[in-house]
């Protein structure tokens, strides 16, 4: 459902998107920046169409909200790459494309004829990006990994949750997200290189390695001191006042690092004697005396609502923010003022609010121009309009289960 033309810095590029969930954030970034992203789906539909939540909790190939979010701004064709017809058509498409993105195992992409050597023979300018669990080399290259496995190996899962309970994963697929974001940079870099070299190349993105980049500074710190992060204790011994503090209608959290921020907080609290001594200006001292610090701040916070604490605290240049639910974020003033959610119309789901693209360019911004495509919505447009197949050809391919 196109409502406006594509725009953005990548609008001159065409991307063939063979990705499943590990690569959808990548192709979303490219599509939101204006690239013509064509989802090449198996006739049964790409996996995201089966991932919850669904509108009104009723599963249907077009009503997965996960699919709706990640596939905005893309077009969809169906094609069975396991068939000889499918592969021949795909090579024709690849001849007219700039980028191919796939998330198959290295074995499968080789077998389907979709690796860089095979595609660059058809189109030497093509950039082929493989987003795989472990990259295309190394002893684990043919192992499987979902987002959970990615953050498990990347040290992020170990530190999430409570001590004495199993580690738990964050909401939002951070390993897929980081892999997709890194792959998007690499694709843009490869296209930039192609401007002068005229040649494409292969991009090998490892989710396992990308996941390590989410966890912070654990690796350099361990190499220096042997320090090993653990699941937080949450009993008041957290640094930088990082524990949540209860307010009248929920929780807020601070992040007090700089000395002057601490001074401003103590001033705001009316300089209670228990924490006003100069020794408390040192983070290390505060960490050694959590009971005194936490109880004074906890008592102070109880007099505020989330909104009051946030507004007044920020006015006083103290880094405090409310612990929002997803709904509270959708409704908050910053989100509204920046029009982070824009209304779109989908033929099956109807009107809904779509998360807008990031990052935001000023001169050449991307836009939300199309809600997620119906399965095979653009078969005729692309196969007949662009590859020159006839309607009879389409019927024959449909009968053979190729499209």
């Amino acid at each position: 459902m196109e409502s406006s033309p594509r725009s953005g810095p990548l609008s001159r590029y065409r991307v063939l998107d063979l990705a499943g969930p590990p690569g959808l954030h990548c192709t979303k970034l490219l599509a939101d920046m204006g690239a013509d992203v064509i989802k090449v789906e198996a006739p049964a539909g790409e996996q995201s169409r089966r991932i919850p939540p669904f509108k009104d909790d009723i599963p249907h190939p077009e009503t997965s909200l996960y699919h709706l979010h990640f596939n905005t701004n893309k077009r969809s064709i169906t094609l069975d790459l396991e068939s000889a017809d499918g592969r021949a058509i795909f090579l024709q498409l690849a001849g007219k494309a700039d980028v191919v993105i796939e998330t198959y195992s290295p074995e499968l992409s080789d077998r389907l004829g979709l690796n860089y050597a095979q595609l660059s023979a058809v189109n030497p300018k093509i950039v082929v990006a493989s987003i795989t669990p472990f990259g295309r080399s190394g002893p684990w290259r043919n192992y499987q990994a979902d987002d959970l496995a990615g953050i498990a190996l990347g040290n992020l899962l170990y530190i999430g949750g409570e001590q004495g309970k199993p580690p738990i994963q964050p909401a939002g697929e951070l390993a897929y997200g980081m892999a997709g974001t890194y792959a998007a940079v690499a694709i843009a870099v490869a296209l930039f290189h192609r401007v002068t070299s005229g040649r494409g190349q292969q991009i090998d993105a490892s989710m396992h390695e990308c996941a390590a980049h989410i966890a912070g500074y654990a690796i350099p710190h361990y190499s220096a001191s042997g320090a090993k992060p653990a699941r937080p204790k949450r009993n008041g011994q957290e640094a930088d006042l990082y524990d949540p503090f209860a307010v009248k209608d929920g929780y807020v959290r601070f992040f007090i690092v700089a000395r002057e921020q601490w001074r401003r907080l103590v001033d705001w609290m009316g300089r209670p004697p228990s924490i006003s001594g100069p020794e408390f200006e040192k983070t290390t001292y505060r960490r050694q005396n959590p009971a005194i610090v936490q109880s004074a701040i906890a008592e102070f916070c109880r007099g505020f609502t989330k909104e009051e604490m946030y507004e007044e605290g920020q006015k006083r240049r103290i880094s405090v923010t409310p612990i929002n639910t997803a709904g509270e974020f959708v409704e908050c003033s910053q989100t509204k003022a920046r029009e982070l959610f824009v209304e779109m119309n989908h033929p099956v789901v109807g009107k809904y609010m779509q998360f807008a693209g990031v990052p935001r360019l000023t001169e050449c911004p991307g836009s939300m121009h199309r809600s997620a495509p119906l399965l095979g919505e653009h078969n005729q447009e692309i196969y007949c309009g662009e590859l020159g197949l006839s309607h009879d050809d389409l019927v024959a391919l449909r009968a053979a289960g190729v499209i």
């Binding site: 949750g161 890194y182 709904g327």
Partner: protein, 403 residues
């Protein structure tokens, strides 16, 4: 170096903290010359307040390796003028100070366009450059609260306001996404010859992975609750206890074939037969607590790496919940791909940081070199790039301009 794809790109960084420097780090790894402007008046967040530790922090090494350090005092008119001259000769300006500071320095977008209309400015901000909270004092750990991620990272039967790991992932994800925005704008510049301004909000980049959660609220009118490791599409799914203290292995079983492989592996090592109610996907999802117990009775007797290897060999997704020490000592994949890069820093000693998690076949990036000592390249840049004579440089150092 000339082989690297961004070798012709010069980047000036006016940054602190993690998100802004991460944009520069990624550009640097792809070959850009990154000049980090900083001052001896005060070490930035990762150099720290104590001058004796400026060149010793492992987290600083991760963020700054391969860059140049140019010490300049932006409180002085002469200092600001020198940076403007630097920007005149550069392709990208990265900044992530509070809103208003760049304006005060005369380098915000309208002024930048007069100095160098081909320069791309990226402003990395917690909340973005517009809206009622644009001026918030907000770091990565804060914006996680706003977007709903803190609240959602918890057990389904949560007894505390969050079980979140202590992370700042929007800093890293926001930085990498920002680098994507910059390279996309560089691509556009190859056609238009003009720069752009990128409003890069860590809040929005982090939130983009929670899109389906926001739609659960706006489409289904239901504010989503924390889910922990609950899944409807895989069972078993989650972190299972293993032999040893606080050892876990993540396991995900999506299909019936995977379930059969899984039980095959279990029964090779133990006589425990799965209950009849676990025979189907629906049965496993409905009885997931009992299923988790059954799986846990098996896993708790095994080493997590044995579980991972035996299940992966049978085609089942399994991954050790690695601690940072495991990433160094037991992760065979990192060892094989050379992901962990150890370098000897002049003052910090041997420090390991993560390599680029993606490989480009023609123009591979790399960790480009050591982190700069405070002011290490001031003289070289002042002389070679700004064309200052030795006595001018000495004079500016004495005036605490190049400081």
């Amino acid at each position: 170096m000339s082989d690297l794809p961004l070798a012709a790109i010069r980047v000036v960084e006016l940054t602190t903290g993690a998100a802004g420097p991460t944009v520069g780090r990624v550009l640097c790894e792809f070959g850009a010359e990154v000049i980090r402007c900083e001052t001896r008046l005060r070490g930035d967040g990762h150099r720290g307040e104590d001058p004796k530790l400026w060149n010793k922090k492992p987290d600083f090494m991760k963020l700054q390796r391969g860059k140049k350090s140019f010490t300049v005092n932006m409180q002085t008119a002469k200092g600001r003028d020198l940076v403007k001259r630097l920007v005149q000769k550069s392709d990208v300006l990265i900044e992530n100070f509070g809103l208003g500071i760049l304006e005060k320095w005369g380098l915000d977008y309208p002024q930048l366009q007069e100095i160098n209309p081909a320069c791309i400015l990226i402003r990395v901000k917690g909340m973005g450059c517009t809206g009622p909270h644009a001026t918030d004092l907000s770091y990565g750990p804060n914006v996680i609260n706003n977007m709903g991620a803190t609240y959602l990272w918890n057990y389904p039967d949560a007894t505390t306001p969050t079980a979140e790991a202590r992370t700042q992932h929007p800093d890293f994800m926001g930085g990498v996404a920002g680098a994507f925005g910059v390279v996309a704008a560089l691509l556009q510049r190859t056609v238009t010859g003009r720069g752009d301004m990128i409003d890069n909000a860590q809040l929005e980049i982090g939130a983009s992975l929670l899109g389906p959660k926001y739609m659960e609220y706006s489409v289904n009118r239901r504010d989503p609750k924390p889910q922990g490791n609950r899944s409807l599409i895989a069972a078993p799914y989650g972190a299972y206890p293993c032999q040893g203290k606080d050892r876990w292995c993540a396991i995900s079983v999506y299909t019936q074939a995977e379930w059969e492989s899984f039980t095959g592996v279990v029964q090779k090592k133990s006589p425990a037969k799965p209950a009849a109610k676990f025979a189907t996907h629906l049965g496993r999802v409905r009885h997931r607590e009992e299923l988790d117990q059954w799986v846990g009775q098996w896993t708790v007797q095994q080493d997590p790496y044995d579980i991972m290897e035996s299940l992966q060999s049978a085609g089942v997704c399994a991954a050790v919940v690695q601690e940072v020490e495991d990433q160094f000592k037991r992760d065979r994949q990192y060892a094989a791909t050379g992901f962990l890069v150890e370098m000897t820093e002049p003052e910090a000693g041997n420090i390991t940081t993560e390599n680029l998690p993606i490989r480009l076949s023609e123009t591979p990036g790399e960790v480009r070199g050591l982190a700069p000592l405070m002011g290490q390249h001031t003289y070289e840049i002042a002389r070679d790039l700004l064309g200052l004579a030795d006595d001018e440089i000495k004079q500016l150092e004495a005036e605490q301009v190049l400081y």
